[in-house]
């Protein structure tokens, strides 16, 4: 009998894994099961160029159907709602059964839902997939005032796009800065300033008490008794790994599916990759979970290699970006474990970077600049971090000196 490899979740990690398996294994059946009736596509443009009409649906797909056909990778539009790890079977709602020898779980993550009165659940919009992006794009067309609940990356990117579509945007954030504490306050403040300069209203330190709908208009009551009137409400209040399916199984879960550096889970022949996995990172010697484009791709590839029998450790340095207005923010490594902070640059036109160091080695960095101005330095930073290089902080702090000087040849 042929070896059956099933990939549960047809997103970025899933497609990269499938193609990597095929590169190393020409014989096995490879089947991707996806609950979106779409070939795997890129999500980053959904909150940016897709809303802005600079990219359409056709530009989002990673690969055409022909590529999958040529590589003999099946894609089936189906939602799995039960798993039997013991007998290696997946079930749909209608009890259709899929048997596997090896399973990769790449179910991604899902948006946290705002708690509102039952009659308003359909009035709050979220953005995770193409379907939702299309709905927002269409519905927002004839609206003027839009309120975004949550000042994280996705909320702010939507705020930037809708502002560019001439909407009057308000962002309400519960914390005392945008984008969470992982981002240096100075950078969060610069992003906030840019939003305000473009006419967006940013409200920090406020919670929603209640939302009331009156004649098609929403009244958002905040905990300081202030009231915001708005025509449209979008919530971007964070996400959780998509693991509901596995909650009553013996698969080890802890902020996602726990995996080792080879993408292996606690169950034999079951792997996990992408947003859904809380993986062991050998460099940081602890588990981390990431929601990023580069990670989904590289982790998928690594899982594919391991599934195909090419034992490969995952030690990729985390990296992600966010584009808002003409700003590009980049984050690399981990920024929550340091004994020293070094600042490079003082002007977003040329880029500003904060480095987080421990024992003179870079653990992580966060940079902000107008488009293109921090990428090179951030990339070099990732390499320095990967190589565990002891760095001269004077060079790091001196914008006139090139960072490649710090690289050991």
């Amino acid at each position: 009998m042929k070896n059956n490899i099933i990939i549960l979740g047809g997103g970025q990690a899933g497609i990269y894994a499938a193609r990597e398996i095929r590169q190393n294994d020409l014989k096995s059946n490879i089947k991707i099961l996806g609950e979106e009736n779409l070939l795997p596509y890129e999500r980053p443009p959904l909150s940016k160029d897709f809303l802005l009409d600079r990219k359409n649906e056709e530009n989002l797909y990673f690969h055409s159907g022909d590529v999958l056909k040529n590589e003999n990778i099946d894609f089936e539009y189906v939602s799995i709602n039960k798993v039997d790890f013991e007998n290696k079977k997946l079930f749909t709602k209608n009890d259709d059964v899929y048997s596997y020898n090896t399973l990769l779980i790449s179910t991604g993550s899902e948006n946290k839902k705002l708690s509102v009165d039952n009659n308003l659940t359909d009035d709050i919009y979220y953005l995770r997939n193409l379907e939702e992006a299309k709905i927002i794009k269409k519905k927002v067309l004839n609206k003027n005032k839009v309120t975004i609940i949550g000042g994280g990356f996705i909320g702010l990117e939507i705020a930037s796009s809708l502002s560019q579509l001439q909407k009057k945007v308000t962002v309400i954030e519960i914390g005392n800065q945008l984008m969470g504490r992982i981002i240096p306050k100075q950078i969060a403040d610069l992003v906030q300033k840019t939003h305000i300069e473009h006419g967006n209203e940013i409200i920090l330190n406020k919670q929603i008490d209640k939302i009331i709908k009156k004649n098609g208009i929403y009244e958002i009551l905040l905990n300081d008794n202030s009231l915001i009137e708005t025509d449209f409400v979008i919530a971007g209040i964070g996400s959780t790994p998509s693991v509901k399916l596995f909650e009553n199984t013996n698969l080890k879960l802890d902020n996602g599916i726990v995996t080792n550096q080879y993408c292996e889970t606690s169950i034999k022949d079951v792997y996990a990759a992408g947003d859904v996995s809380n993986f062991y990172h050998p460099l940081y010697e602890r588990n981390i979970r990431l929601e990023s484009y580069q990670h989904a791709q590289n982790h998928g590839i690594c899982a594919g290699k391991n599934i195909a029998g090419v034992k490969t450790e995952y030690s990729s340095i985390p990296w992600m970006w966010s584009d808002q207005f003409n700003l590009n923010l980049q984050l690399t490594g981990i920024c929550d474990d340091f004994d020293e902070i070094v600042e490079r640059g003082n002007d977003i036109n040329n880029g500003i970077i904060y480095f987080f160091l421990k024992n003179k080695k870079i653990q992580g960095a966060c940079g902000l600049g107008i488009v293109g101005k921090v990428g090179r330095d951030i990339r070099i930073t990732s390499k320095l971090s990967e190589n565990n290089t002891i760095v001269d902080t004077k060079i790091l702090a001196d914008k006139t000196q090139k960072l490649n000087k710090l690289m050991q040849k």
Binding site: E42, P44, Q297, W319, G375, R376
Partner: protein, 105 residues
């Protein structure tokens, strides 16, 4: 090949090894690279979004876009890593008396 097609970019000393300079001509922008085995030229903007590759990182034969880390082979223009998927246009380069020329048309 007529002489007029070759446009002077600058002197060979103006580019460090494993580095690039931006060169604007009429309304177009180009990148000219110095690799270990010579000089090369490509379009100056990333094919993914409108970003100047002059701010990117040159590594061996590759240029990495500063915005989303799309990677291109400098010699062939081939897009090697997503989100860049469309190849970059490349241009012939010659060096004459320590001056670099690129052939745009």
């Amino acid at each position: 090949m007529s002489e007029e097609n070759w446009i002077e970019v600058g002197s060979t000393g103006s580019i460090e090894e494993e580095d690039l300079i931006r060169f604007d001509h009429q309304d177009k922008t180009f990148c000219v690279y110095r690799l270990t085995d010579g000089f090369y030229a490509t379009d100056g903007m990333c094919t993914h979004e409108a970003v100047h590759l002059e701010d990117g990182l040159v590594m061996d034969d590759e240029i990495e876009c500063p915005m989303h880390q799309g990677i291109f082979n400098i010699k062939s223009g081939e897009a090697l890593s997503p989100p860049a998927c469309e190849d970059l246009k490349t241009y012939p380069v010659k060096v004459d008396n320590d001056k670099i020329f690129i052939k745009i048309e």
